[in-house]
């Protein structure tokens, strides 16, 4: 058990190191030189002297790996550097954005789960029935809709046609409604599809036939099916977190929700690289940790699966 835990932690750390290296390298893959990027994004006229001085100041003359090491140490301390745009530390901006994004994402996630769990059970139990066909149709369509499209359409019909909501979200519950809807609809549909498949797989499992053969009542069989699905459901949720993160960038940009996604899109437009790097590091870390946790949870639920 302890050995497994160590393996898990080592793999977690190694994934994070690769991620950080990838992010750091990305900056150097980008067209142009970092010092120049910094200066241009601040609107300074670039001359050779200014450029050299800037390079010196940023430590760009040191070897690549040394710079990576120094950067990594700072990141681990929670220091994501200063913004190219206004020389302010990046970290507080990211954290402020993260808080708003978390509110948005968690609300959408919980809402989706609450709806999809019951619908997928209903759909699986009444397989090929009317309810199942309706649920499947809607979840299929919802799954095929990009969330930017949903948000634009929602905006058009709810805000402009029937003027139910303001177009621009404010940081309150009313403002939360539209972005949450835009994120939840496709996610709910994906959850329904995946959970339904999972429940159906469990319903076909040998033990269900065995219990049926002993005349075990339906409600006990359902309990067993749910019990055995939990592990997989954790995995399904954890994998959707990634989609949720990408989706929130789009949604926050559309509805001007002051989250980390909108921050990163503004920074991409402004070529403010430290913010982009910080964004990937933070989101990547959250995602990796959540996925490893879900692995551990599903291993606890089903010890036969590998950790």
């Amino acid at each position: 058990m302890i050995k497994k835990a160590i393996v898990k932690i080592v793999s977690l750390i190694s994934i994070l190191i690769v991620l950080s290296f990838f992010v750091f390298a990305l900056l150097y893959l980008a067209p142009g030189d970092p010092a120049e990027k910094r200066l241009t994004s601040q609107g300074v006229a670039v001359t050779k002297e200014v450029l050299d001085a800037e390079r010196e100041r940023l430590g760009l003359l040191k070897p690549f790996l040394v710079r990576y090491g120094e950067w990594l140490v700072r990141v681990i301390r929670g220091d994501f550097g200063v913004s190219f745009k206004d020389d302010m530390p990046v970290a507080p901006k990211l954290y402020a954005g993260l808080k708003n994004t978390t509110i948005l994402a968690m609300t959408s996630l919980l809402l989706s789960l609450a709806i999809s769990f019951w619908l997928s059970i209903l759909s699986a139990i009444r397989k090929n029935g009317i309810a199942d066909n309706i649920i499947r149709l809607f979840s299929f369509i919802g799954n095929s809709l990009p969330n930017f499209l949903i948000s634009v359409l929602l905006m058009y019909f709810l805000c402009i046609k029937i003027k139910l909501f303001p177009v621009i979200a404010k940081g309150n519950v009313q403002g939360l409604f539209m972005p949450v809807m835009s994120l939840s609809i496709p996610m709910t549909c994906r959850f329904i599809r995946q959970m339904r498949t999972e429940f159906l797989t469990q319903m076909k499992a040998d033990y269900v036939v065995g219990m049926w053969g002993r005349g075990v009542k339906g409600r006990y069989i359902v309990i067993n099916i749910l019990r055995n699905s939990i592990g997989h459901i954790f995995t399904i949720i954890a994998l959707q977190i990634g989609t949720l993160m990408g989706g929130s960038v789009v949604i926050e940009t559309i509805f001007r929700w002051p989250g980390i996604g909108k921050l990163v899109m503004d920074s991409i437009t402004a070529r403010d690289y430290p913010v982009i790097m910080g964004f990937v590091i933070i989101m990547g870390t959250i995602y990796v940790v959540i996925n490893q946790l879900s692995d551990i949870l599903s291993h606890c639920m089903d010890p036969r699966t590998n950790l």
């Binding site: 690769v18 991620l19 990305l26 930017f148 977190i241 989609t243 990547g284």
Partner: protein, 273 residues
């Protein structure tokens, strides 16, 4: 061929019908040059934001460009990019997966470790960052999505190669003195093609969603090039005045993705029967 049960026949008909629709879309966008009534890039100050009519079936946008023509041309961009990306991922992933599954050992460990790490990152987050930093238009967006996309092909091809390799007929081929290359090309590749192609089909919808999402954010095509995601993004600003500039490309996106997803689902169901 095997005699189809009723269910199989129904599924086959479903696949054929959807495939015809998909083909129609592909043809319509491929021959956009012939079908489009107007030049998609010609701006005209006299016909700004005109409602759909005889000359402009889907109306015009903020710059007086024909929305219908732009939808056709935009479809070509999206569909061509999607197919290219899926095809390249399919090629790279399948080759890597077959080699890993067949030879195993260090090669397998290293490449699959890499694949695991790729999957350990949130795909869209990485794609947004890569596309944003590279700033290389549609190519950038494709690279950004491709970084993680090959993995699903590689994993699938690997696991199938693995199970095929344990089949007795591969052993029989060894006893017949056949080379690794012969076995991979004659026995393994044809036998894993069906599931991997099915995966490719199901990836088309997802890839379209991803690519048009990136374009919507301004990380895909460079204006004025037509693309559905970016058209929706542009039209959004004046949706109150000219909703057709958003609704028609939106409709096109929805229909296309639904058709390809449906095709993927149907083929998947058919393979399971």
């Amino acid at each position: 061929m095997k005699h189809g049960t009723r269910r199989e026949k129904r599924l086959r008909n479903r696949i054929i019908a959807t495939a015809v629709l998909a083909l129609l879309i592909i043809l319509a966008t491929t021959f956009a040059g012939i079908l489009a009534p107007n030049d998609p890039y010609a701006t005209s100050a006299s016909s700004i934001r005109m409602a759909p009519g005889a000359q402009y079936p889907f109306g015009t946008d903020n710059l007086g460009r024909c929305v219908f023509s732009r939808v056709l041309y935009g479809g070509r961009t999206t569909i061509a990019a999607t197919f290219l990306l899926v095809f390249i991922s399919f090629l790279i992933g399948t080759v890597i997966g077959m080699l890993c599954g067949y030879y195993g050992g260090i090669l397998d460990t290293v490449l699959m470790r890499l694949a695991d790490i790729m999957l350990a990152f949130p795909q869209m987050v990485v794609a947004i960052a890569v596309a944003g930093i590279l700033n290389a238009g549609m190519t950038g967006a494709m690279v950004a999505l491709g970084i993680t996309m090959w993995v699903s092909f590689a994993r699938l091809a690997r696991s199938h190669t693995f199970s095929i390799k344990n089949e007795a007929y591969i052993q029989a081929a060894f006893f017949a003195g056949k080379s690794d290359f012969y076995i991979i090309m004659v026995h393994i590749f044809p036998n894993l093609l069906a599931p991997v192609l099915t995966n490719a089909l199901t990836q088309i919808g997802t890839t379209m969603i991803g690519l048009s999402g990136l374009s919507f954010l301004g990380l895909g095509v460079v204006p004025p090039k037509a693309e559905w995601g970016s058209m929706i993004s542009e039209g959004r600003a004046y949706i109150q005045i000219a909703p057709w500039a958003v609704l028609f490309p939106a409709l096109a996106t929805i229909i296309t993705i639904i058709i390809f997803n449906y095709l993927g689902d149907a083929v998947m169901d058919y393979m399971e029967v």
